[in-house]
């Protein structure tokens, strides 16, 4: 029973990571890649660490695995946020399949402050340019 659980968690985590890596390879722009890779680091490694906890069935190992998972869940979104922000400042291009970009021109490039125009009035920016093509 315990072995099946270990094997299942391990295989699940590995497949999760494979899908994420494939996403990082195939996605057309930085933000899509980020959105694929953050899940790998949090859930893929999380599942494999849980597999280790299930395999050893020991309080010390379980607490270490859970602490690492909590740490990963707390930090990966922060890292992704900082990278995405940095990417926006460097001027990384969004994929040409992007439908709407409501963040465009909202950053003040000198002071690094982010404005908030009323989103209700600025919804349609690039949307009018044929969304399906």
């Amino acid at each position: 029973m315990q072995e099946v659980l270990t094997a299942g968690l391990m295989v699940g985590g590995a497949l999760f990571m494979l899908v994420a890596a494939l996403g990082v390879l195939r996605m057309p722009d930085l933000f899509l890649r980020l959105s694929a890779s953050t899940k790998a680091s949090s859930f893929g490694s999380g599942l494999i660490l849980l597999a280790a906890a299930a395999h050893f069935a020991d309080t010390g190992v379980t607490s270490r695995a859970v602490a690492t998972i909590v740490f990963l869940l707390l930090t990966t979104p922060i890292a992704a946020h900082m990278l995405g922000r940095a990417g926006y400042f460097v001027g990384v291009k969004l994929s040409d399949r992007t439908v709407i970009d409501e963040l465009a021109y909202q950053y003040d490039l000198r002071t690094h402050r982010l404005a908030s125009r009323n989103p209700a009035t600025t919804t349609v920016e690039t949307d009018s340019v044929s969304p399906e093509s």
């Binding site: 922060i78 399949r97 970009d101 908030s116």
Partner: protein, 157 residues
Amino acid sequence: MTTFLLNILLAVSWIALTGAFTPTNLVIGFVLGYSVLAMTQRLMAPSGYFTKVPRVISFALFFLWKLARASVRVALTVLSPRLNIRPAVVAVPLDVRSNGAISLLANLITLTPGTLYLDVSADRRVMYIHTIHVDDPDEFRRAIKDGFERRVKEMLE
């Protein structure tokens, strides 16, 4: 908060009485203590503990459900030969104001596959979210506001 401490005290005494210090026993003690406290709550000072705990649990279940659904969808997108994506950066107006609530919301949004939290405006009115597939930005806004934001608000504010 005191009710929570009382609950822990009951869980610890359950462990002491049964004499087996295992994580499973701790959980059992906690659940038993919780039900005892819930039954006797009219005898004590009123506390928000009994509305909060079910809310946190239902939130966790809701998040896991969202997570499972979104993971499968994103996995299918990545594996499909023609990437079926319509990415967008959507500005979502915020109702939550406190630091804790905003950062919890941001973390949850990034952890859900398919959406990525980018930034919050300096005046904390708007959160910018990147999403892999959007059909209607207003629909997306409503989904975030009615789903995650409402529940985070209920839980923390």
